[in-house]
Structures are given as structure tokens and as C-alpha cells.
Amino acid sequence: MKRRDLVSSLFFLAVGGLFSVGSFNYSIWDQYGPGPGFFPLLLGIIFTILSFLLFIVSSLMKEHKGDELVESDSLNFRIIRKTVIYLVFLFGFYFLFDRLGFLLTILFFMMGVLILFSRKSIKFSLSLSILTSILTYLIFVRLLGVQLPGGILQNLFRFY
């Protein structure tokens, strides 16, 4: 945990510094009292000091044995590989949602994730994906009136 604390404290040190410097773009104090830059500057300074404190404390701290033993805490690539792949799927969802429309995006996303992660048969994955798409349409679009992008199927089915 020591190394992670060091890394994260340095990252947050930079974030605190950016907020502090950025605050000077706004008035810190005017004739009526504190301006829009006052609160972020105050917080930015406190945040920078705290990050620096964490850096100092973690550099002085000894690494405890067993600190890294919990598998769920591990940053080993073998463990986080699945999360990285899942993240790619999520960005795929984000890029396709407006272009393909909600029905097809949900269908492809569910299919991909179910086949890859839960190792279910194509038949099962396809059935569940179609069911999810249809239920999304019925619950969110029809029942709750949420406007979701129709995409390329909009002209075919005319959702709205």
C-alpha cells in the first residue's frame, strides 16, 4: 500500500496545485467580500497540503507484510485484465449509442459481455440480449417516456 499511497499522493498533489493555480483566473476577494475564486483557492491549498502530508507519511511508513495479500486489491494485470476489457466494451457502448441507437447497442453490448465474461452459449446470450433490448424499450421508452436514440432502426420502426 505504501507505493500506491506515494503514487496517489503525487497525483492528488498535482490536482490540488492545478485547482489552486486555476482559482486565480477568478476574483479572490472584492469589495463585498470573498469572490468566486476564494473557496476553490482555499480548498486547493488544503488539498495540496493534505496530499503532501500523505506523501510524507507514506514515505516514512514501513510496508506491512500481508498488505498486498487480498486478491481483490491487487493491481496485477492478470486480475485487472477483465476490467480493462470491460472498460473497452463500455467505451464501445458510449461511441455506438447515438450512432446505432439503443436497441442495437444494448443487443451487441449484452451479447459481447455475456459470451466473453459469463461464458454462456450463443443461443442463451442472444436470447437474453434480445430480451434486455425489448424490456428496455418497453420500460424506459414506453412506460417512463425516456427519449432514447433510435439510431439506424428509427426509420424502420419509428419509435417516437
Binding site: 468566486p36 500523505l54 457502448f93 432514447l148
Partner: protein, 505 residues
């Protein structure tokens, strides 16, 4: 008072609100049963959907989820020794032992009845406490509010995790994120970086969905799929009803749990988790047979289960009277209020009595619905446990994304969920607690407003705050909370020093 209660019931018993209440408690129970998915993630998921409903129905449903979760979490704790929810961790100890002895029905039954009694106690207390507290709150000015918010945040930071610096950092980081967007006083856009969607600041719902919901999904994806192994349970009505001896042994633990839980719920950062642990420790200490604890003592189930439900209701006191959230769930509820342009706080009772009393009385209705639903339907809920986590993960993701999209009808909501999801995931790995971050993010604009108004009032001399007794007391408490870990360390060093000297001599 009676007129207000009738007014409240006439609102909460309206068919549409009754339906939302049923939906909330059922969803809450299911969420409580599913290990991992907690009330925060599920309320964050459903928050955007409340745009389409009226505020009372929305808050009734979200509150139903919150106290429904406390019921649902018990089922997995007793049957699988896996807490469905953090506040039911302690129920595993004796609940699972009771289940192994064939008394799962009695454990679940006493938990349901105890929760009902404690919940009802909490509601009655809320009814009596809320109006006078709201009156006191109206007498407070910006400096007192500012001091109160600092104390609330300090308590959350103090109680949230092992590392005080890390929690404090997350609190300040939440406040910093809250400054992004339009300045509440001058209207100037801060840290917008020219991005149109940042002009109004970061939306609470996608942020919370990412930090809690999506981060949970990542954990599900990483976890190894295990076979669900839970004990078979007799779920006929007669078998889940506690017998006379059970009642006799549970009566005082339920009473004590109700009172202590409610008090813990009011305290910022206290909440249901701590209430259940305190109740368990108290019951064990007060018991004539403490050795029975850990081997299936019904008191070890009745006390904590009552305490966590009472605490869930108690958390509504600061929300409805001061407009200050006691925990993350309450912070999200503030989000629901704000979506509809209503500020929860002391003026709520005066300006919106139907809403105020409607929410309170709906909790009675919700508690009764939970009792009716949970005792005979335990067997059905147990079946939900069999849904594999790898199937749950994409389903939760889809709900998250659709909710986030629906806020502004823009994919930028989805991007915020992904970014904060990744951040929440890394925060777990680096052991940073997201709870102070969200709470501070909600409190940020209110705190800034109160701070700047106070500074104007004091003409820039902040030390004048110490001329105001209430604000001084609050700030004193906050100061004590921050220095107490340091004091504890110093005291430890002082006591260990003579031993060290003796060793050398």
C-alpha cells in the same frame, strides 16, 4: 399534529404513491439480497428516473429502497453467511448459526418483526422531533449552518475509514469537484474548460452511479464465479413466526436497538452500519449469557436488525429539518429534491406540508408493506440469489447508462459514469473511501454559500465566528474530531515511554 398526520396519510395512501412505495420496498429488498449492490448504487441508478415522476412519489420510492435494503440484507446474512448489505454484517454471526441449527425461519422472522417495530419507533420519533428541530433551524444564520456542515463532514470523515488523511482528502476533493460549474453568487463559470456540459457543474446522479454502481460492476466482473451455497429454509408462515420464548428473549434487544439505532441514525456518518455493531456489542455486554453469542443467540439478531432499521429512519431527521444529509443515501435524496427545485430543510414543513408529512407517513405504509411482503415471501426472494453475478453486471451497466443518458438526453452522461466508474474502481484499489467525496460534493455549494455569506457578515474577519456560541460549539466538535486521533497517538506514546526507558536501564 393529528391534522398533519391525516394530511400525510391522504397523500401517501394515494394509489400512485402506494404503488411507488411498493415498488421501492420490493426493489430495496431485492437489492439488499444481492450481495454487493447496496442502497447507494441502486438509488443512484434510479435517481434520473425520478425526473418523470412527482417529487413525493419519487422520494417515497427512493426511501422505500433505503429501508427495504435493511430488510433484504438480512436474508443472505442468515442463509449464506454473506451480508447482502454492510449494515447486516453483524447479523451473520448469530443468524447463520441459528440457520445451521434449523432455526433460519425464526431468525428471519424476528429480524422482520424487530425491523418493523424499530422502524415504527423511528417514524414516531421523527414525527415528534422534526417540527421542533425545524423551528430551531430557522433561528440559525449562515455562520451556524457553515459550522454545522463542517461538523457533519468531519464526523463522516472521522468515521468513514481507517486513514484520516485519505478520508479528509476525499472530503476536500468532493468540495473541489462541487466548485466546478456556475458560481452560486456571481454566476461566473468556474473550471468549465470550455466544455458545455460542465457549465452547470457535474451531475450528481451519473457521478454517484459511476463511483458506486459501475465500480461495483467492475468488482463483479473481476470476481470468481462461485456456486451459490445457501441453507435450505422452511418458509411456511407458521415456521417463520417466532415462538413465545423467542419473543421474550428479543423484546429488550429490540427496544434497546430501536432507541440506540435512532440516535446513531441522526448523527452524521453514524448510520445503519454503526448502529448494528453498537447494538450487537451492547446486547452481548448486557446479556446474562454472553457465551451464547456467536453460537446462535436470537438477541444477536433481534438487536442489530432493529437498530439498523431505526437508524435508517433516524437519518431523515437532519435531512428534513436542516437540509443536511447524514449519509450518502440522504445526499442522493437531496439530489432528488433539487431535481424538482425543492430545498429540503426547515422551510419544507412550512412551505410544503403535504410533501413533508407525506414522506413521513409513507414510511409507516412502507414498513407495513415490508412486513406483509417479507414474512411470507422469503422463499421467493431467496431464488433471486441464484442469478450469477456475471449476468447481473451487464444488466446493471445498461440501467446505469440509460439513467445517465436520460438526464440531459446526451451521451456525455454515459461518459461521466464511465470516468467516475474507473475512478471509483481505482479508489477501491488504492483504498480511498468514496462516501466523504459524494457527501462533500453535495454539501459543497451549500457550504461555499454559507462561508461567503458569513465572511460578508463578519466583514472579512473570520474570527468573529467565535462570538456566536452555537457556531463555536459546532466548530469545537469538528476540531476535537480532527485532533482526537493525534491525541490518542500521543497518549499511547506517553504510556509506552516508561516501558521503553525501563528496558534500557
Amino acid at each position: 399534529m393529528l391534522d398533519n398526520i391525516i394530511l400525510g396519510f391522504s397523500a401517501s395512501l394515494a394509489p400512485i404513491n402506494l404503488l411507488y412505495c411498493l415498488l421501492g420496498v420490493t426493489l430495496g429488498t431485492i437489492v439488499g439480497i444481492l450481495p454487493g449492490l447496496g442502497p447507494v448504487s441502486s438509488i443512484a441508478l434510479l435517481l434520473p428516473l425520478t425526473y418523470k415522476t412527482n417529487l413525493l412519489s419519487a422520494v417515497i420510492m427512493l426511501s422505500g429502497i433505503y429501508y427495504g435494503v435493511q430488510y433484504g440484507g438480512t436474508i443472505t446474512s442468515v442463509l449464506m453467511n454473506i451480508p447482502g448489505e454492510a449494515s447486516t454484517v453483524v447479523t451473520c454471526i448469530d443468524g447463520y448459526q441459528m440457520a445451521k441449527k434449523g432455526r433460519a425461519g425464526a431468525a428471519l422472522g424476528i429480524a422482520a418483526f424487530g425491523s418493523f417495530i424499530a422502524g415504527t419507533f423511528g417514524i414516531v420519533m421523527l414525527m415528534f422531533l422534526a417540527p421542533p428541530l425545524a423551528k430551531i433551524a430557522l433561528m440559525m444564520g449562515p455562520p451556524e449552518y457553515m459550522a454545522l456542515m463542517i461538523t457533519g463532514l468531519s464526523l463522516v470523515i472521522y468515521l468513514s475509514s481507517k486513514s484520516m488523511i485519505k478520508s479528509l482528502m476525499m472530503g476536500v476533493f468532493g468540495l473541489l469537484l462541487g466548485t466546478i460549474g456556475m458560481d452560486p453568487i456571481s454566476g461566473q463559470i468556474r473550471f468549465g474548460m470550455g466544455i458545455k456540459n460542465l457549465m452547470d457543474g457535474i451531475d450528481l446522479a451519473p457521478m454517484a452511479m459511476g463511483l458506486f454502481g459501475l465500480a461495483e460492476v467492475f468488482t463483479l466482473i473481476e470476481s470468481k464465479e462461485g456456486e451459490s451455497q445457501f441453507l435450505e429454509v422452511k418458509t411456511k408462515l407458521r415456521e417463520v413466526l417466532p415462538n413465545r420464548r423467542d419473543w421474550k428473549e428479543s423484546l429488550f434487544p429490540i427496544t434497546r436497538g430501536s432507541v440506540s439505532g435512532f440516535l446513531m441514525g441522526i448523527l452524521p456518518g453514524g448510520g445503519a452500519v454503526m448502529a448494528s455493531f453498537i447494538s450487537y456489542a451492547m446486547e452481548r455486554r448486557l446479556s446474562k449469557h454472553p457465551e451464547k453469542f456467536g453460537t446462535g443467540a436470537i438477541e444477536g439478531v433481534a438487536g442489530p436488525e432493529s437498530a439498523n432499521n431505526s437508524a435508517a429512519i433516524g437519518a431523515f431527521v437532519p435531512l428534513l429539518t436542516l437540509g443536511i444529509p447524514a449519509n450518502v443515501v440522504m445526499a442522493l435524496l437531496i439530489g432528488a429534491f433539487m431535481i424538482h427545485g425543492v430545498n429540503p430543510g426547515p422551510l419544507l414543513l412550512r412551505d410544503n406540508p403535504v410533501l413533508f408529512w407525506g414522506i413521513i407517513t409513507s414510511m409507516y405504509v412502507g414498513n407495513i408493506l415490508l412486513l406483509i411482503q417479507n414474512v411470507p415471501m422469503i422463499g421467493l426472494f431467496v431464488k433471486i440469489l441464484k442469478v450469477p453475478s456475471k449476468i447481473m453486471a451487464p444488466l446493471i451497466t445498461v440501467i446505469c447508462f440509460i439513467g445517465a443518458y436520460s438526464i440531459n438526453n446526451s451521451v456525455s452522461g454515459i461518459l461521466i459514469v464511465i470516468l467516475f466508474g474507473a475512478m471509483g474502481y481505482l479508489m477501491r484499489k488504492f483504498r480511498y473511501d468514496p462516501a466523504p467525496l459524494i457527501l462533500a460534493f453535495v454539501l459543497g455549494p451549500l457550504l461555499e454559500d454559507a462561508l461567503r455569506q458569513s465572511m460578508m457578515l463578519f466583514r472579512g474577519d473570520f474570527l468573529k465566528i467565535f462570538e456566536r456560541p452555537i457556531a463555536t460549539i459546532f466548530l469545537g466538535i469538528a476540531f476535537f474530531l480532527f485532533v482526537s486521533p493525534l491525541l490518542a497517538t500521543l497518549l499511547k506514546l506517553r504510556f509506552s515511554k516508561p516501558t521503553f526507558v525501563d528496558d534500557n536501564t
